[in-house]
């Protein structure tokens, strides 16, 4: 059974009289342990697909199963619980909590979403700080970190509660090329180390090479058939 299974997925946004058909019937499946990219030009529907997988948005048609759950049927509160229990997120703008240090940001999901006991929390945070290579900046607030360092913290935060799946919408768009490659390499290393599935989106062809499976989106449709391998 695939980790993510989408069939005939549609998403139409309606704002007033205007309706935008952002995703027009896509089928894909993502296996556990994959390192998968959605690529395509701006407006092609990458974020929309990732948001639906991440239970931040609901499909208007089709079925979408994530971790054997029909996520289209989840209510608001159920979706929040599902995300908290099974998913990790990395954002384009890092989105760290400004009043918390690097270590506290990583600890946040363990403290405020799941209720881990303090000893396990400390051990997990130390392990991740080490794994993403920012142990020396553990006590720094986000505004004292560089973009690359912030995204490392964000990756560690996404991994903190040991989710099956991490979704990263344009995780490198705000980074220079060298740093972007390092972050992608870091994510891959994390996949290797923890076995977490990573799904990310990008429109930067240079980092697409790192993905093991690529879905090309254009105008809301997958145009490379089922999973072109880079």
């Amino acid at each position: 059974m695939a980790l993510v299974q989408a069939t005939g997925l549609h998403k139409t946004y309606r704002t007033g009289d205007v309706s935008v058909h952002a995703v027009r019937g896509v089928d894909f499946s993502i296996e556990s342990g994959g390192f998968v990219a959605f690529v395509g030009p701006s407006g092609s529907g990458k974020s929309t697909v990732l948001n639906m997988i991440g239970c931040l948005d609901r499909p208007t048609d089709g079925t979408l199963r994530v971790l054997d759950t029909d996520v289209a049927s989840l209510g608001r509160r159920e979706a929040a619980d599902f995300r908290g229990a099974n998913l990790g997120f990395v954002f384009q703008d890092f989105n760290l909590i400004p009043v918390l240090s690097a270590a506290e940001n990583i600890e946040y999901p363990l403290l405020m979403v799941q209720n881990w006991p303090v000893a396990q929390r400390r051990a997990r945070v130390a392990e991740l700080l080490e794994a993403v290579g920012i142990a020396d900046r553990a006590d720094k607030r986000p505004d004292q970190l560089s973009g690359g360092q912030k995204q490392r913290v964000a990756v560690a935060r996404a991994l903190a509660s040991k989710p099956k799946l991490v979704l990263a919408d344009e995780p490198t768009a705000n980074l220079d090329h060298v740093t972007a490659l390092r972050i992608i390499d870091l994510m891959k290393a994390m996949r290797d180390e923890f076995g977490t599935t990573f799904v990310f989106s990008t429109h930067d062809p240079r980092i697409v090479d790192a993905a093991e499976e690529v879905f090309h989106l254009e105008d809301g449709r997958i145009v490379n058939g089922a999973g072109g391998t880079a």
Binding site: R83, F89, N95, I97, V99, P109, M112
Partner: protein, 414 residues
């Protein structure tokens, strides 16, 4: 809970300037309210103390109809000796009663052989009057206390009257009174002392021995027209009044109506209205505090939520339960309230301490009033609880908005 509050506190520190401003506003409101409460309560207490402890007592018993015509100082509504004895026996059984004094109040003409004027007089038993009116002796401006209060044949005159007529302590004056049958009688008296005037009816009365009053009025039996009662605990006034009224209900006139009435001090003096006014002001200023806290906290919390939409989107996307997000923002509002309350409390207590070292003095009429403001623990806690509760209520709406935000929309917010 603690962890959420810790995060709330961090966010307050992050926007320390406006947190400080909002807390400062709450502090200001707290201090204003607590000082007003302390000073007005002290003023009220002193004024009421003057009235109840030097003139009225806490309760008074009269024959029905007497209070309505008290301005005329009638002599046909007196209580007969047997009735007085009955009432006094009943009062002695009540443990709440500390002291009682029976008076014969009447009007007379005062003459110093040169000028003549009207005067209201209280015929009193000196020892009992002094016991029931502990502040009366303190009003003596000139002359001295003798025989507990005054001697037979002596007169205590109100200051304004004595000054106006140029009468001094040691002078001889004549009192002329009309008795109940309309015949006139006069006697000479020695001025033993001059009394300071106080607010309220009876504050400008003279005093003489009750036996002299009866002789002047050619009264056969020792009648009185007023029994003033001092209670152990002034706070019990209303309750004791009701109980006493009930007990006196057995004493009826030939038509079966109760013969006697009980009045509390506040029914007998217009100052009670000033006291009620003070209570009303007290209420208004508390309502204002509620308004200040409500607007200040709500304003800052609405801003806080608006500025942090993306942050809210992030924590919601990560899976933070809505209840925790709500708590996070309510926590900020409550902490603002708590900090403001604590600082406000400390400053108020400090200022009240200072006011006791360098007291506020007022000239009220002819009296010097030295206020001794004090903050009752109950008042402090009450005001503190209101402030914190209002702060929580004010942050509830913005916090609710934050908790209900759709993470996707919030994350796209620019």
């Amino acid at each position: 809970m603690i962890r959420v509050l810790r995060l709330s506190a961090r966010n307050l520190v992050r926007y320390w300037r406006r947190s400080l401003l909002t807390s400062g506003l709450i502090v200001l409101g707290m201090v204003a309210v607590l000082l007003f409460v302390a000073v007005s309560a002290s003023f009220k207490q002193i004024m009421i103390g003057q009235i109840t402890d030097s003139m009225l007592g806490h309760l008074q018993v009269h024959q029905r109809g007497y209070v309505a015509s008290i301005e005329n100082l009638p002599l046909n509504l007196n209580m007969k000796p047997e009735l007085v004895a009955r009432v006094e026996a009943l009062l002695r059984e009540m443990p709440e009663v500390e002291a009682i004094t029976a008076r014969l109040k009447f009007g007379a003409m005062l003459s110093d052989f040169d000028e003549t004027t009207n005067i209201r007089l209280n015929g009193v038993e000196p020892e009992r009057e002094a016991a029931a009116m502990p502040l009366l002796a303190g009003r003596l401006l000139d002359g001295e206390i003798r025989n507990g209060l005054l001697e037979p044949g002596a007169l205590l005159l109100p200051e304004l009257l004595a000054r106006g007529m140029g009468v001094q302590v040691g002078d001889t004056v004549v009192l002329v009174a009309t008795n109940v049958d309309g015949s006139v009688n006069g006697r000479t008296f020695l001025v033993q002392g001059v009394l300071d005037a106080v607010t309220g009816p009876g504050g400008r009365d003279g005093y003489l021995h009750i036996d002299d009053a009866r002789a002047l009025l050619r009264m056969d039996a020792p009648e009185v027209n007023q029994i003033a009662i001092r209670l152990q605990d002034p706070g019990q006034t209303e309750r004791v009044a009701r109980r006493l009224e009930q007990r006196l209900g057995d004493i009826v006139n030939p038509r079966g109506q109760p013969l006697l009435t009980v009045h509390t001090w506040d029914q007998l003096t217009p100052f009670a209205n000033i006291a009620r006014m003070i209570d009303l002001l007290d209420l208004f200023i508390r309502i204002m505090l509620v308004g200040i806290v409500l607007i200040a906290v709500m304003n800052v919390m609405i801003m806080s939520v608006y500025e942090r939409v993306r942050e809210i989107g992030t924590i919601a996307a990560i899976g933070t339960p809505p209840g925790r997000i709500l708590l996070l923002f309510v926590g900020e509002g409550v902490l603002l309230g708590v900090v403001g309350t604590l600082v406000g409390m400390l400053i108020s207590l400090g200022v009240v301490q200072l006011l006791n070292v360098w007291p506020l003095e007022f000239a009220f009429g002819r009296q010097e009033i030295v206020l001794a403001p004090a903050l009752a623990l109950g008042d402090i806690l009450w005001v503190a609880a209101i402030v914190v509760a209002v702060a929580a209520a004010a942050s509830l709406q913005p916090a609710w908005k934050a908790a209900r935000m759709d993470p996707n929309t919030a994350l796209r917010h620019v």
